[in-house]
C-alpha cells in the first residue's frame, strides 16, 4: 500500500479486508452481528439492542458428502460444457405429421402418457380421464366404464412418452390413431414427436372425455392431421427454432404463451394449406381451428425443446438436467450423467389463478411433459419475455422478470438464439445444473396449466409450480455414486 492510498477519507464498515482504517472503525463503532439461518438468534440479539445483519445463506440441500464428491468430479466442468454446447447447437425442424402408430410404432393396445412411468393404480383423476377417453376414441371400449375396467385390468399397456422420443402436454396421452408432429434436429440427427394441440377447456389432455372431446379428436384425425401433413410435406421443413427465437420478442415464453408462435406457424404453412387439394370448407375449418387456439404451437415448442435436451443426454459426469416431467402423481427428472434413470418426488399443486367457479381445492397436482420447455431454458425460465403471462398464471410483472433472473443462478449457460429483449437481449438461462440447485436451494420455476383433479373436468386454471427438492438430492446421490473414487498415490 502506497502512502497516498493510506489517506482514504471515509471510515469503511462491513465485510472487507482489514485495514488500519476499518480496524479503527471496529474500535469506535458498535459491533454488528451477522446472522444466517434461524431467526431466533437474531431476534434475541435485537431484543438486547444489538444490531444484526441477516444474510441470505442456507446450507445446501441433501448430503454434503454427496455434494463434495460430485463437485470434486474432475469430469463435471467439461461434461457440463459439452452438455450445454450440444443443447444450444441443436436445431428443430418440423418435417412431417403422421399417426402415432406409424411415427412411434404404437400397437393398437399401447398408450403413452406424460411424466415418469406410472401404473393405473397410482394415476390421478385427469390422467385416468385422458386414458379412458383415449380407450373409447381408439374403439378399445364403448363406454367410459368399459375403458376403466380394461385399463385397470392391464389390457392396455402404458409407458412414458419420454421413453419413445415423445412429449405430451398435461396428461400427455398418445394413442395409436392420434396424429403427431415429427421434428428433426438437423445438427445431431435426433427426432422428437408430439401430438396436435386440441385447444383449451374441456379437452382430453386435461382429463375430459365427453362426446365433444372425442368428436374433436376424430375431426383432428380425419381432417386436421392429414391436411397439416400434406402442407408440411409440400412446404418442406419448418424451422421451429427460428419461430421460438422470434416469439420471445413477441411476448411469448413458449410454454403458457404461444400466441405469436401459433400465428407464425400458421403464416408459414398458409400458402400450402390454401393450395391443398382438400375441400375448401375443410381448409377453412382447419385454419380457423388453429387460429382460434393460442396454445397450438406449444406442441411444437415442446418437441423442439426435447430435441435440445436429448442432445445433451448421456455425458458421463454431467450434472445437467435433461428432462423434467410430471404424470400428475410424481414429478421426475433425468440428468445427463445418469442415463435414463428417473429421480422422482411427489408432484406439487400449482399456485395460480382459477377459471370460473373453480378454486385450489379443485386442482390436481402438477402434470405434463411441458416442463421440457423449462428444461431447455424457456417457459418459466423466459417469463421476463412474456410479462403479460402474469394475467394467466398470477404474480406481478416484477415477479416474472425476477423468476428469469433467479434462473441464471441455477443454469450453466445462456442461449444466444433465445434472447430476452427487455433484459437487453440476454440469452435465456439454459442447462439446469443439479449442483447449483442443491447449493442455492433455488428450484426451477415452471409455469403450467392446472387440471381438475376429478376425471372428466378439464382445465381449472393456470399457475406457477416447482419440482420437489428430493428430485435433485436423489439425482445428486446417484451422480455421487457414479463419480470416480480418488486414490491416493
Amino acid at each position: 500500500m502506497t502512502p497516498s492510498q493510506d489517506v482514504t477519507p471515509a471510515p469503511r464498515t462491513g465485510a472487507g479486508s482489514p485495514s488500519p482504517v476499518s480496524l479503527h472503525g471496529l474500535l469506535t463503532h458498535e459491533p454488528v452481528v451477522v446472522t444466517a439461518g434461524a431467526e431466533l438468534f437474531a431476534a434475541t440479539l435485537r431484543a438486547q439492542a444489538v444490531r444484526t445483519e441477516a444474510v441470505d445463506w442456507s446450507p445446501p440441500m441433501g448430503e454434503v458428502t454427496a455434494l463434495d464428491r460430485v463437485m470434486a468430479d474432475p469430469r463435471r466442468e467439461g461434461a457440463n460444457q459439452s452438455a450445454v454446447a450440444r443443447m444450444l447447437a441443436a436445431g428443430a425442424e418440423l418435417v412431417d405429421v403422421r399417426p402415432a402408430r406409424e411415427a412411434l410404432g404404437l400397437a393398437p393396445d399401447q398408450f403413452l402418457h406424460a411424466g415418469p412411468p406410472l401404473a393405473w393404480e397410482r394415476a390421478s383423476g385427469p390422467m385416468r380421464g385422458a386414458l379412458i377417453g383415449a380407450a373409447v376414441f381408439e374403439g378399445l371400449a364403448t363406454t367410459p366404464e368399459q375403458a376403466e375396467a380394461a385399463l385397470a385390468q392391464g389390457q392396455i399397456s402404458l409407458d412414458s412418452c419420454h421413453h419413445h422420443g415423445a412429449v405430451g402436454p398435461m396428461a400427455g396421452v398418445i394413442s395409436p390413431s392420434m396424429w403427431m408432429f415429427e421434428l428433426s434436429d438437423p445438427v445431431h440427427g435426433g427426432r422428437a414427436f408430439c401430438s396436435l394441440n386440441e385447444g383449451l377447456g374441456k379437452v382430453l389432455r386435461y382429463g375430459a372425455y365427453g362426446p365433444d372431446v372425442l368428436a374433436r379428436l376424430r375431426w383432428m384425425t380425419d381432417v386436421l392431421g392429414p391436411l397439416l401433413a400434406s402442407a408440411v410435406r409440400r412446404h418442406g421443413p419448418v424451422d421451429v427454432k427460428a419461430i421460438l427465437a422470434a416469439m420471445l420478442a413477441m411476448g411469448d415464453e413458449g410454454h403458457n404463451r404461444n400466441r405469436a408462435g401459433t400465428m407464425m406457424l400458421l403464416r408459414e404453412l398458409l400458402g400450402e394449406l390454401i393450395e391443398s387439394p382438400a375441400p375448401t370448407a375443410d381448409v377453412a375449418a382447419a385454419v380457423r381451428f388453429v387460429a382460434a387456439n393460442d396454445h397450438f404451437f406449444l406442441n411444437l415448442s415442446m418437441p423442439a425443446c426435447k430435441l435440445a435436451t436429448d442432445a445433451a443426454r448421456d455425458i458421463p459426469g454431467s450434472t445437467v438436467v435433461v428432462a423434467m416431467a410430471r404424470n400428475g402423481t410424481d414429478f421426475g427428472i433425468q440428468v445427463s450423467g445418469t442415463g435414463d434413470q428417473w429421480f422422482s418426488g411427489p408432484a406439487a399443486v400449482p399456485d395460480g389463478l382459477y377459471l370460473g367457479g373453480y378454486g385450489p381445492s379443485d386442482a390436481n397436482p402438477d402434470i405434463g411433459d411441458s416442463a421440457i420447455t423449462e428444461t431447455a431454458g424457456i417457459g418459466g425460465f423466459a417469463m421476463a419475455s412474456a410479462p403479460a403471462i402474469v394475467r394467466l398464471v398470477g404474480g406481478s410483472v416484477s415477479d416474472a422478470i425476477g423468476a428469469t433472473e433467479r434462473m441464471y443462478e441455477i443454469t450453466v449457460t445462456e442461449n444466444p438464439a433465445y434472447q430476452i429483449p427487455v433484459l437487453d437481449f440476454r440469452g435465456t438461462p439454459t442447462g439446469i445444473d443439479v449442483t447449483r440447485v442443491v447449493r442455492s436451494r433455488i428450484l426451477p420455476q415452471i409455469n403450467t396449466g392446472i387440471a381438475g383433479k376429478v376425471a372428466g373436468t378439464g382445465q381449472v386454471g393456470a399457475g406457477l409450480v416447482n419440482p420437489p427438492a428430493e428430485c435433485f438430492t436423489a439425482a445428486l446421490d446417484a451422480l455421487a455414486a457414479a463419480a470416480p473414487t480418488w486414490v491416493e498415490e
Copy 2:
C-alpha cells in the same frame, strides 16, 4: 414543533425548510452552489473548488406571455379533459376496402400526400418520386419525365391526406385507383382511410417508382384490394382497436413494429379469404404477400389512431395535439383548440440505423402521416412495449423504455385500452399537451422509416426523430390569441 421532534439525530443537508439543525449544517459545512442552465458558470465555480449541484431546469420555450395567457385560460383544463376522454373512447373498426375514387371521391387528376399541404416546387425527392410513380400508375403520363412535367405544370392537383379524412405512411401518396382501408369509429361516427401497405424496400411510399413498384401496385389494385374487400364484407367489421391492444403485449408499438398486428389481422380474415370465390392461386398469393410484410398492419394502425385524434378535434380552449404529420419538407401539427390550422417547421433528418451501404447523407428529412400513431399515444410513445424495436431504429432497450416514460411528462392522460405489460400494465401516454411540451422542452418522440432523399431510391433506414420546437411555440401563440381576454371588474 414539539420538544420530542427537536431531537432529530442526523444533520440534514440540501434543500428543505430551514430548521435549527439544517442551519447548523450550513454553518459547519462548505456551501454547495445549485446551478441551472449555462454550464460556463458551474465550470468556473468547479475550477475554484466550489461544489456545484446542477439541476435540470430550463426556461420554457416561446413567449412567456403567450404561455401565461394559455395557462390562465379557464377553459383549458376542462377542454383537455374532454379532448382526451373522446380520444380514449373512440373505437376503430375496419368496415370496408374500396378504391380511393369511391372512398374519397378523388377525381382522376387529384392526388393526396402526407403531411401539411405542399406544392410541387417545395417537394423533397421521395415525395416527388411517389407522385411521379402515381401519375404513371394512373396513366396520366407514360414516362417519369412526362409525369414530372405534368406535376410541375400543376396538371395534377395535390392536397393533404388529412384534409380528406385520410392518412398515408411516408410520402403517403393516394391516387384515385388505389384501394383504401375504410375504418369507422362506432362511438363518435368518424371515418378514416388509408391505402394498402406495399411492403418494404423499393416501394412507392419511399419514393421508388420503377417497373417492379408499379407492377406491384397494379397487382394490389387488381387482386389484393378486391379480395380484401370481399373478405371484410363477408366477415363484418374487424375490431382494429382490439388488435392494437393485443399487439402491445406482443412486442409491437404500432408504428415501426406491426408484426403481431399483421398476423392478427390475417388470422381474423383467413376463413373468409379461403372461402373466397377468387382463384385459389390469387388467394394464396394475397395471403403470402400479407404474411411476408410485417408492416401491413401499419396502414390500419394509422387510420385507427386518426379516428381517435379526430374525435378530439375542435374543442375550444384545448391545447391537445390532434395531428402530427410530415411531408418530407415541413413538419406540421394541428391542435384541438385551433381547428384545421397547421403549425409547421422544417422536418429534421432522423437519427437511426441504415440499410446496406446507405448512410446519413442519403437520408431525406422526416416524412409521413404515420406520426398520427404517436399523436394517439402509441408508436414512439409505446416503445417500452416493443424493446426489440431498438434493433431497427437504434438506441438501447433502456432508451426505449425511457422514451415512453418521458412521454408521460407531456401528455394529459394514460390509455387504459393500450397497456404496456413491462410497465406493470400502465396505459400508454396519451394526448400531447402543447403547454407541457413548451414548459418541459420535451418534444414528442417519434420513430420512423427513413426514405432516400433522391427520388426513386426507396427506404434507406429507420430511426428516431422529434418535431421542430417551433410547431409548438407557434401553436402556443395561436392558442394565446384565441384565449379569452381578462376584464377587470
